[in-house]
Amino acid sequence: MQKNIFQHEFRTHTRSVATWSAAVAALMLVYLSLFSSFSQQAELLNEMMANFPEELLLAFGLTGVNLATVLGYFGFVFLFVQICLAIQAANYGFSLVSVEEREWTADFLLSKPVGRSRILTSKLLAALSSLLITDIVVWIASLLFINLFKGDATYETRPLLLLLLSIVPFQLFFLAVGLVVSLMVKRIRSVTPYSMALGFGMYVLSVFGDLLGESVLERITPFKHFEPHYITRNGAYDLSLAWISIVVIMISLIGSYVLYTRRDIPAVV
């Protein structure tokens, strides 16, 4: 790790971290503030949901979910949080190295007396720290807003904490996959389409997996590996699936180091 690169990278993420954290916290505030009205009319709500088409419920992961309970409701809200976190992490992953090539600053950085592995490690740690700050904001906001708006309802702490902790490997998945993909293509002109595609793509896969009852799709997407309702219902991770995320992260990271240390840095023509 090289301290000066870490600091430089961390600083470039500051604004983005603040924006994402604020956006996710605001999203949770809005949704969780509605919880009391949901829980008060629980019967009506569940009756209404029973009349919804099965596919719609599946699309939002709402089958067999009781929105009148704290964790049932929070699990539903958390899906949107996950989508945001996925896109943020994918953004950092796709741009981590590619931004230097897009803006032609790679020549500056790579002609300094520092090896590529150290550069990548410093950049990764800076991105991880930035994501971790967002995660901490999510944790604080979750606990704060749940306790603020839960009214008389009660919830189990363990499943909630497990769910909250799951966002660390969840983000790591998108960071690592984004990074390795960015190193496999020649040049990324704009990061947003890529991170949107990866973030939403994985979400859509999980929805299709539910709709089709197709378990192969479940294996690919971290939205399934760390499915909120599974975690809140069982008070545990679905380890057989969560492992897949861990393995994908490892392979992507190793692949990134291999690719980056051999990469030809393009020059302005």
């Binding site: 020549d107 007396p113 520092v114 090896g115 840095i265 020059a267």
Partner: protein
């Protein structure tokens, strides 16, 4: 000891040619010119030596060490001014220079301010607000602030006004006198002629000539200009004469060969004036291109 030793270095970008079988040595303390037209492979060579890209085959050493394996360590003593300068747009000049300095295992603060003052750089401007010429100045300071022992200058002058160019050349000479070896790539021959002791000429990815600037000029052609009142152009058409042309009363040609033959020829006719001089490097250079 050679500071740079390049051994049959070859680089293909997929099927596109970068450089082919390039070999040369740069000795300690010299200013080595590297000339060739755009796309000849000048930048490719420099980028290989900095391990920004990796060779298809061949190898190179800097200060006697493999330039890839010992790259990070070697770059402590290397300064690089790329042909196109790009820096983090949102940073201020001073912050960029400090960031640059923070990579070296020595204190660069004083030298950084000296150079910035010399280059008349406004330290508190943001990079995004700088003109091309001013970015180039940032590049120069950034390349020199750690007092490198080896300097790669890749077409450094475009963008600098004539006054700055002169200051820059002066700076390069000073660095050289201090002991720094300079690798100077350019397609402008005038500046190579002014600065360098030896040159390599690269064309279509291959080295076509490595020579002392002086021998390059001397051993080759003489440029002859004769003022005549009435003489047939064909009179000078003899072996060794090229580019024979006439404008009004002036006959010009290049001559290569025994100079006495031309002198005798000149002595036999009535002429009003004659000039015999070294051709410019430019003219020699065109010869390599044809």
């Amino acid at each position: 000891m050679s500071v740079i030793e390049v051994n049959r270095l070859t680089k293909y970008y997929g099927k596109a040619r970068g450089i082919v079988d390039v070999s040369f040595q740069v000795e300690e303390g010299e200013i080595f010119g590297f000339i060739g037209p755009n796309g000849a492979g000048k930048s490719t060579t420099i980028r290989l030596l900095l391990s920004l890209i990796f060779p298809t085959s061949g190898s190179a050493t800097i200060f006697g060490k493999d330039c890839i394996r010992y790259g990070p360590e070697l770059r402590q003593d290397i300064g690089y001014l790329p042909s196109e300068v790009f820096y983090y747009e949102r940073m201020r000049v001073i912050d960029l220079l400090k960031y640059s300095a923070s990579f070296y295992n020595r204190d660069c603060t004083q030298r950084m301010h000296e150079l910035a003052e010399l280059m008349e750089l406004e330290m508190h401007r943001r990079i995004e607000d700088l003109s091309y010429g001013n970015r180039k100045k940032v590049g120069i300071v950034q390349a020199l602030l750690h007092r490198p022992k080896l300097l790669f200058l890749d077409e450094p002058t475009p963008g600098l006004d004539p006054l700055m160019q002169r200051k820059f050349f002066q700076l390069v000479r000073e660095e050289n006198q201090r002991g720094a070896t300079v690798f100077f790539s350019s397609h402008l021959l005038g500046e190579v002629q002014r600065l360098c002791s030896r040159v390599a000429i690269i064309r279509e990815g291959r080295i076509v000539e490595i020579a002392d600037i002086r021998t390059l000029q001397q051993n080759n052609y003489k440029r002859v200009r004769v003022e005549v009142s009435d003489l047939d152009l064909a009179y000078f058409d003899m072996p060794g004469v090229t580019n024979l042309e006439r404008h009004d009363n002036t006959i010009r040609f290049f001559y290569k060969g025994d100079i006495n033959l031309v002198m005798r020829k000149l002595g036999e006719v009535r002429i009003s004036d004659v000039t015999i001089e070294e051709p410019t490097l430019e003219e020699i250079f065109m010869h390599y291109y044809e």
